[in-house]
Symmetry: C2
Subunit: 306 residues, 2 copies
């Protein structure tokens, strides 16, 4: 197969764009698409101080790499989750990436900072690991960005992630979750930092192609806790439809953002954000979910020890 733009052999076929591109034209295409998403969703400018959440996987490293190459003011934040070899390898990939590029990296170790890694936390509070893990990552990214004066938190979520989350919210029609689902959530008050997903228009396969063609060395194993996770079931269901009708993931997410989310925002009562009585972070309750979860974990751990 030939590249759509030059006589070279194509490196990747893009069925949903009815196209195929060589390495150089694909990397150019990737950057153009990400740049457009940043601009269209008014995510940030070169004046912003960006904190990018980095797991060491293809998505977060591709995003960090894009931001560094395009000379944004960016720092990586890696959260060591304590999930055995998976977390150890994630940290190595992240550290090697940052050292090779002389890029700023902050690391937060969940066990050192909060007393437990994800496996023990999940076991102690008897909740599926993904629930405490997602909450911890969102919380830590926001509070670290707030404490260190970053203006934007950037995350590597790709189109497959967004489509799967959207499908999950649709299957149960969670209006408040749907109203919050956006690749660009503006700041709400000083302690709730703007949160953006610059790769939200690129599929998982397209981001992997970028990482591979750019020679980014990323951790390829999936988190062991993701086996059987609902998000995987949703991704497989959407993949089977995409295979039959290329472009479905994009039309699902883009159509929702353009035509449906505005209806949901209008239908939502304006919710009031308080400062958590324990940590001062934003919450719709008195105490935020993160502080409640850890209070619960430490209480259960201490009664287990007695």
């Amino acid at each position: 197969m030939k590249c759509r733009k030059c006589p070279s052999t194509a490196s990747i076929e893009l069925k949903r764009h009815n196209s195929a591109l060589c390495k150089d034209h694909y990397l150019e295409f990737f950057d153009t698409q990400v740049g457009r998403a940043i601009k269209k969703q008014k995510m940030f400018t070169h004046d912003d101080k960006i904190l990018v959440g980095v797991s060491g996987g293809k998505d977060s490293l591709s995003l960090w790499d894009y931001l560094l190459r395009n000379e944004y003011d960016v720092t990586g934040l890696h959260i060591h989750l304590g999930i055995g070899d998976y977390s150890a390898n994630s940290f190595v990939a992240t550290k090697e990436f940052s050292e090779a590029r002389n890029a700023d990296l902050i690391t937060i170790d969940l066990e050192q900072s909060y007393g437990m890694g994800i496996p023990l936390l999940s076991q102690t509070i008897r909740r599926v690991p993904c629930s405490g893990c997602g909450l911890s990552k969102r919380y830590i990214l926001n509070i670290e960005a707030y404490k260190r004066n970053f203006s934007v938190v950037a995350m590597g979520h790709n189109l497959d992630d967004e489509a799967a989350t959207l499908l999950g919210n649709i299957l149960h029609w969670e209006i408040s979750s749907l109203a919050r689902q956006s690749p660009s959530l503006p700041s709400k008050g000083a302690n709730l930092i703007s949160r953006v997903k610059p790769l939200y228009t690129m599929t998982e396969r397209e981001v992997a192609a970028n990482a591979i063609l750019r020679g980014i060395s990323y951790i390829q194993e999936d988190c062991p806790n993701s086996i059987g996770a609902k998000s995987i079931v949703y991704k497989e269901a959407i993949d089977s439809i995409e295979l039959n009708s290329p472009g479905t993931k994009h039309s699902l997410v883009a159509g929702f953002l353009e035509r449906i989310r505005p209806l949901m925002e209008n239908s939502q009562d304006e919710f009031h954000l308080n400062d958590c009585t324990i940590c001062g972070q934003p919450t719709t309750s008195e105490t935020c979910s993160f502080c409640r979860m850890w209070a619960n974990a430490h209480q259960k751990a201490s009664s287990n020890n007695n």
Copy 2:
């Protein structure tokens, strides 16, 4: 496995209800669910004159059977689509059902009434068969109900059908189609008859169980044109999620009807219905899609013959 309601052996397991029922209790459950749907969606009463669309499959025969057993004023309408053995067998199953129950049946033969069966129509206008077929069925049910003074058109669509159609509309966010998707569409003017789907809360498997346990002899083969149809791809995707999370089909459809469709209705401009200049049936254009399709088909057929 025992029946949840009596000591008998269960005939069917209902994972989404965390239940299992014997034959008698399942048939009672089926009738209760269908009766509730009719009442909740204000579909019809015993004062209505109901025309039920009957293909000869498990869904339409289960619905007709329910309406007859519950002494509604109901007549079956079978459309002979001219799809080879499939249509011939469909007609036989329908006719045998109506004769065994002494039930009123009207048959419309597409080829005799309009000049072509679905295969020739599809070939002539070069459109996928399902598109012309669905349009023809909807149109003929409405015009026959109108001409013969029926007050309601009832159709056998089950929860799987509704979930697949809804998913298809969601994947492309067709707001006008979403706003029209309902198990109970009220009449709009004298020539647009009320249209209801009393089985919309029962899954395909649950309707099949009803048909089998009641000894209804239905045509089991699928329409040969349905192979590779988008609706099948959507059904398979939803089935894979339902298997992992029983109840998903129901929460998708019920949540949409309760919480989302009202938002879409409000966001829609009130559309104006005209009488088709050819047939007098309701349309948002000058000529209705059915008349336009057949005018196109006859024109192409005559130019092919010249």
